[in-house]
């Protein structure tokens, strides 16, 4: 059973490299997208932190800004 799975009648190099390439691409795309997301999120937090009280209050009045900050705290 394990031999059948590993050797695939001589086609293992083709099959496993196709699956491996696909999964590698998935991992790469996920990582790149995640890094970009975290970078933008951190930039937002840093910018928000540098606002004075009045501007911060005005920015926080927008629901989406509150959501972004809440997500950072939850993560």
């Amino acid at each position: 059973m394990i031999n059948e799975l590993l050797f695939m009648n001589g086609y293992e190099a083709y099959v496993l490299s196709a699956f491996g390439f696909t999964l590698l691409n998935f991992a790469g795309l996920y990582l790149v997208t995640k890094i970009q997301f975290v970078k933008e999120q951190n930039k937002f937090v840093a910018k928000f932190g540098s606002l004075n009280t009045e501007k911060a209050k005005s920015a926080k009045s927008q629901r989406i800004n509150k959501e972004i900050l809440a997500n950072v705290t939850n993560n």
């Binding site: 799975l5 695939m8 009648n9 001589g10 086609y11 293992e12 083709y14 099959v15 490299s17 196709a18 699956f19 390439f21 696909t22 691409n25 998935f26 795309l29 996920y30 997208t33 995640k34 970009q36 997301f37 933008e40 999120q41 930039k43 937002f44 910018k47 928000f48 606002l51 501007k55 005005s58 920015a59 927008q62 629901r63 989406i64 800004n65 959501e67 972004i68 997500n71």
Partner: protein
């Protein structure tokens, strides 16, 4: 109606959804890999090389589906003057591009044991290669143009030109003599693929669709935060 889909309203959902989608994706992918690599039977002609179909076909389907969606959304963005449609299109493109590359590379790997060659300038393969170029042009247009109006216009023109290629990809196997076999799965008529192979193919397609949804949501959230970052600069 479009107000319901305003980014400020849906961010609450799109920001929380990725973790659930990721969880679901891992489960469906595990089931799909088990079916594709272990449980599904080998082909009487292609033997175990047929298993490459389980990554090649879903990748090709999804890359075509995403490009069609991008075109539809870009045109809708112009018609309804809705920027959010462009934002959704832009967020869909990276996964479509990667799926297109996966379809080309796994197709090439599959070609070697079945046709005896890694590459042939066959109608289906060449038209898929053209599609990847349109994806690249679309993504590059977002990188090089800073003016919003300009990028909306140019990216839409690219998608309109690129969509002409989509029916060519679909019907290339019927219109020309190609190395590719005709479609085995038909929505309107009976499919020629056996259920023991169709089932893993559908599970893998579901897994790939979940993955593209996951990447789309992450990318869409990133774009929204980018816009909000610009908003903070203006305060």
């Amino acid at each position: 109606m479009f107000k319901l889909f305003q980014p400020s309203k849906i961010f609450q959902i799109t920001s929380k959804a990725p973790k659930y989608i990721l969880f679901l994706f891992v489960i469906v992918l595990s089931a799909g890999l088990t079916e594709a690599l272990i449980l599904s039977p080998e082909d009487y002609k292609q033997s175990d090389a047929v298993r490459i179909m389980y990554v090649h076909v879903p990748a090709a389907w999804i890359s075509l589906g995403i490009f069609s969606s991008i075109t539809f959304l870009s045109i809708s963005g112009f018609v309804f003057k809705n920027k959010n449609f462009f934002l959704i299109s832009k967020s869909l493109a990276p996964s479509g591009f990667v799926f297109n590359i996966i379809a080309l590379v796994t197709g090439s790997i599959w070609g070697k044991p079945t046709w005896g060659t890694w590459w042939a300038w066959d109608a289906r393969i060449t038209s898929m290669l053209i599609l990847v170029l349109f994806y690249a042009m679309y993504l590059i247009s977002w990188k090089i143009y800073e003016n919003e109006e300009k990028v909306f216009k140019i990216s839409t023109i690219i998608t309109i030109l690129g969509i002409i290629n989509v029916p060519i990809i679909k019907y290339s196997v019927d219109w020309w003599n190609t190395l590719h076999q005709p479609a085995s799965i038909n929505i309107l008529s009976k499919s020629s693929i056996h259920s023991s192979m169709l089932f893993p193919l559908l599970i893998m397609t579901a897994a790939f669709a979940l993955f593209s949804l996951l990447i789309f949501l992450m990318k869409y959230n990133t774009e929204l935060i980018k816009i909000k970052n610009k908003g903070l600069d203006r305060l």
